[in-house]
């Protein structure tokens, strides 16, 4: 637990764990209510670090990949690639060189970010405090900005490919002429379809955030139990392994499904 000398209550402990290390354009480090131009430095650093780790690992394997008998690491990487490729091929039937790498990046990156959840909750924050960093939130996917940043990027791709494949007219028509194909229903259709469209990125981002945030919160609560955390930590961590992989997979699968919907006419 954080040993700042102040009286440490449960709520302040939790509060401390849920506070990001921020830097804002206006207020500098850790300013209160610094406005939109604030960066969660910890989330971004961990996220980018994990992304670089993922790309470095895969790139180094790709560089020395052989067609002959592969090594163990290459086998593992190829299993991941094959898994993603199979899912993309099953769901997405168009021809687009972006979808599979997009799915791979989402799957591995989100998985690694979720995996930070299994690091004991106090380990990295206390390590950071000893070198003078007051706050550290180590799981990027418990940061709504991170998950929404990804889901909105996917949303931008959905709109881009819808317009690219069906034309702007097709995009407008999809919003206004469904599900009731009559001009009188245009307002109703537009209401329904825009909600459907906007629900995609919001649900995508919130689902990942909600699952991981809740999981992290329970880890923090378990950490508050003193010695009781020892028998409780392990089952929750085991259970959480499932959530970690599942949420990464769901994010990837839904992205593929949305992209395939953007490419296909109804």
């Amino acid at each position: 637990m954080s040993g700042q000398g102040e009286a440490l209550t449960s709520s302040s402990y939790i509060q401390h764990h849920l506070t990001n290390l921020t830097w804002s354009v206006d207020g500098g480090w850790n300013a209160h209510d610094a406005g939109f131009w604030t960066f969660h430095v910890d989330s971004l650093l961990v996220a980018v670090g994990l992304g670089v780790l993922f790309l470095w690992l895969f790139r180094s394997v790709a560089k020395y990949s052989t067609v002959g008998v592969p090594g163990k690491l290459q086998c593992f990487i190829e299993m991941v690639i094959d898994f993603v490729d199979e899912n993309v091929k099953d769901t997405f039937h168009g021809k687009n060189a972006l979808i599979a790498p997009l799915a791979l990046t989402i799957f591995v990156w989100v998985f690694l970010m979720n995996l930070m959840d299994l690091v004991p909750v106090d380990l990295l924050p206390i390590a950071a405090q000893t070198i003078g960093v007051p706050y550290l939130k180590v799981v990027p996917t418990t940061d709504l900005n991170v998950t929404l940043g990804m889901s909105l990027s996917v949303f931008a791709l959905i709109i881009y490919y819808t317009v690219k494949v069906k034309g702007f007219g097709g995009f407008v028509k999809e919003l206004t002429m469904q599900p009731f194909n009559h001009w009188a229903f245009i307002p109703v259709n537009f209401l329904l379809e825009s909600v459907t469209l906007l629900a995609k990125p919001v649900s995508l981002g919130l689902r990942l955030f909600g699952n991981l945030y809740a999981g992290e919160l329970i880890f923090i609560l378990i950490a508050l139990l003193g010695y009781w955390q020892l028998p409780l930590y392990f089952p929750w961590a085991v259970f959480h392994i499932l959530i970690i992989v599942l949420q990464a997979f769901i994010f990837m699968m839904l992205t593929i499904v949305y992209m395939s919907m953007a490419h296909e006419d109804h």
Partner: protein, 156 residues
């Protein structure tokens, strides 16, 4: 928990990572996998073909072996026949040779007997003449009766 510029930073990082993945990670790995899949498929078809070839070769070899056995049996059979033939021929030849030798021997014995008889006859004639001479010496001239004696000798 506010929405702030972290979102933009994350989106930018996401875009860069996806671009890098699309450019430098996905294609070489997938190419390697697909190339290996093709290699394995080729290897499997080749193995299958080799198996078929082997089967064919084995059948061929068995066929050849059978043929060779049949041929060998035929040759042995022929040789046996030829042997009996040769033995038969040799036997026949020996038989004829034997009869020839026997006939020759018989002819020789016959000739010898004839010669001995001739000689005996002449000696008998000489003896008869000598006897007669001794008898006649006292009575008649040898010259005058020689023709009779010759006739007698011829009649013997």
């Amino acid at each position: 928990m506010n929405i702030n510029a972290t979102l933009i930073g994350q989106a930018i990082a996401f875009a860069i990572f996806v671009w890098f993945c699309m450019k430098y990670v996905w294609p070489p790995l997938l190419d390697a996998i697909e190339a290996r899949q093709k290699k394995i498929a080729d290897g499997l078809t080749q193995a299958e073909r080799a198996g078929k070839d082997l089967e064919l070769a084995q059948a061929k070899a068995a066929d050849k072996l059978k043929q060779a056995k049949a041929q060998a049996a035929e040759i042995i059979d022929q040789a046996n026949k030829r042997r009996t033939q040769i033995v038969e021929e040799a036997k026949n030849e020996a038989e004829t040779e034997r009869s020839k030798i026997i006939a020759q021997g018989e002819a020789e014995v016959e000739a010898e007997r004839n010669r001995a008889r001739e000689e005996l006859r002449q000696q008998v004639a000489v003896l008869a003449i000598a006897g007669a001479e001794k008898i006649i010496k006292r009575t008649i001239d040898k010259e005058a009766n020689s023709d009779i004696i010759d006739k007698l000798v011829a009649e013997l």
